[in-house]
């Protein structure tokens, strides 16, 4: 609730601050950036497809979603930690809250916390930014209250450990050494520290599940973790774990959009190779 109040305050101050400029600019009619018209079309098509599938899912249409082994392993990992009487370590990336991978990581944290709450398994969430700390605490608290285990919630499950990248790594290494978590889950944006975390986790004998949309860090996670979610799987994880029709519908829409883009790429290759349309199709996709 504290965060909501801060956000409302920010919005109100912004409206007052920008109000005059906003009112003056209504006189100017050249509002739209025509050079970004292609992006607008893509956005409209994408949103329409996603919303269509969300609506179909809400109506009860069964949607097939392929199995993602890494996410099926989450419950197995928590079960293992419970049997061993150890904790689950969850790291929602090392980036700020405005990074979409961090939000995806926090959504997965909410689902993982539900499972740890059900099994009464200790959960440790070290974070690098205070705003992520507040969001992580809310996500865990919501999960514990949602499963009727509110009394087991401890605000120190999520803790701020360090603001610097490698100081954060050192703190997490300490947790891995001292607490020996049975399961390590890394979901979010990771950079040079990905292998430092995953390799230390491997050495400690934990089962490891990782997910990131940073392609350059994927090889490190693949080498050191038991399961790795690649790119879009990170964003799909929350929907996959929730099994809510509306969430699954958005995944289906995303898949159709991918098919649309693949067809566009193939057509682009064909038109450019055969030199049809004098570069018209290529220019349609130019980034402005």
């Amino acid at each position: 609730m504290k965060e909501i109040k801060i956000l409302i305050l920010v919005l109100i101050i912004n409206i007052f601050h920008s109000g005059e400029a906003l009112a003056n600019s209504f006189d100017n009619l050249s509002w739209f950036r025509l050079d970004r018209f292609n992006a607008l079309i893509l956005l409209v098509v994408f949103s329409t497809v996603v919303l269509f599938y969300i609506r179909s899912a809400k109506k009860g249409k069964k949607l097939f979603i392929r199995k993602i082994a890494g996410l099926d392993a989450v419950e197995e990992g928590v079960g293992r930690a419970t049997e061993m009487g150890r904790s689950v370590l969850f790291i929602p990336g090392i980036d700020e809250l405005e990074e979409i991978q961090t939000i995806a990581g926090l959504s997965i944290l909410g689902r993982v916390a539900k499972v740890t709450a059900q099994y009464n398994t200790p959960l440790l969430v070290p974070v690098r930014y205070p705003l992520v700390l507040a969001a992580a605490q809310e996500a865990i608290k919501g999960a514990y209250l949602g499963t009727g285990k509110g009394e087991n919630y401890d605000s120190e499950m999520a803790r701020y450990v360090a603001g610097e990248q490698f100081a954060f790594v050192a703190a997490v290494h300490g947790v891995m050494h001292r607490d020996k978590p049975a399961t390590n889950v890394y979901m979010g944006a990771f950079y040079a520290e990905s292998l430092l975390l995953a390799e230390e986790g491997h050495e400690s004998g934990a089962i490891q599940i990782a997910g990131t949309a940073n392609p350059e860090q994927l090889p490190f996670f693949i080498a050191a973790c038991d399961y790795t979610l690649m790119g879009e799987e990170l964003y799909a994880a929350s929907s996959y774990l929730s099994r809510e029709p509306r969430m699954l519908g958005s995944l289906k829409g995303q898949d159709w959009m991918k098919i649309f883009l693949v067809v566009c790429i193939l057509l682009g290759v064909l038109f450019d190779t055969l030199q049809i349309g004098n570069g018209f199709f290529y220019n349609l996709f130019l980034e402005q």
């Binding site: 609730m1 909501i4 409302i8 920010v10 919005l11 101050i13 912004n14 409206i15 601050h17 920008s18 400029a21 906003l22 003056n24 100017n28 739209f32 950036r33 992006a39 607008l40 949103s47 969300i54 979409i100 991978q101 939000i103 995806a104 909410g110 205070p130 705003l131 700390l133 507040a134 605490q137 996500a139 608290k141 919501g142 999960a143 803790r159 701020y160 610097e164 990248q165 490698f166 100081a167 050192a170 001292r178 040079a192 292998l195 430092l196 995953a198 390799e199 230390e200 949309a213 392609p215 080498a223 690649m230 790119g231 879009e232 799987e233 964003y235 929350s238 969430m247 958005s250 991918k258």
Partner: protein, 204 residues
């Protein structure tokens, strides 16, 4: 109200940011820029939240004399010491804060980073064991790339750097782009879910 209000705020701010991308209107641009500035300001203020968290967790361990409490004591001493030195003498050059940063914090962070070299070796050893066809292809490719990036590779075979460049520029880049396109669609999809209030797990 507790659920609906954040959803409405997420919708409005998301809509404004998307509008700012497509608009030349200075008012909308100014508004979205202010929002971003406020995110930075709120982030800065929330640092206090982090300091409270770090002190609360560690002081409890010290007072209970729990396992490894000595390390926690050093941590708390440095958190307080660096904060005081920064406030009293400033953070510029030749201040106690600068001395602590340059001579203690920075070398320790460099040490952590340097461990990566050993971790890469142990991870590569496990990943490159040629137990399956895929692992063998990975091993051969990795050897070509590594040799192609050092003078010894060129000394052994003149074309080796060109082959390494070709692998990086075509098969490797094609796969990376595939992952990036998928991730971009995934990011757009989750953003849409957040703006429309379908995805709420991150709010608790």
């Amino acid at each position: 109200m507790k659920v609906q209000l954040p959803v409405v705020i997420a919708f409005l701010t998301g809509f404004i940011m998307v509008s700012a991308f497509f608009s030349t209107n200075p008012g909308i641009a100014n508004f979205s820029q202010n929002l971003l500035t406020w995110v930075t300001i709120v982030g800065g203020i929330s640092l206090l939240l982090g300091i409270v968290s770090i002190l609360k967790v560690n002081i409890k361990i010290i007072s209970k004399r729990s396992k490894d409490w000595g390390f926690k004591l050093i941590l708390v001493m440095f958190v307080i010491g660096m904060s005081i030195s920064g406030v009293v003498w400033g953070m510029g050059e030749n201040t106690p804060f600068d001395w602590l940063f340059q001579n203690i914090q920075s070398p320790m962070m460099s040490t952590m980073f340097s461990i990566l070299a050993f971790f890469i070796a142990s991870a590569a050893y496990r990943a490159f064991r040629a137990r399956t066809m895929e692992a063998t292809i990975l091993l051969v490719t990795a050897v070509i790339i590594m040799l192609g990036r050092i003078p010894l590779g060129q000394y052994l075979w003149n074309d080796l750097p060109n082959i390494a460049d070709w692998i990086m520029a075509y098969p490797n880049l094609a796969v990376q782009r595939g992952i990036i396109i998928g991730a971009a669609l995934g990011a757009a999809s989750i953003s849409l879910r957040i703006i429309l209030g379908i995805e709420r797990t991150y709010m608790g």
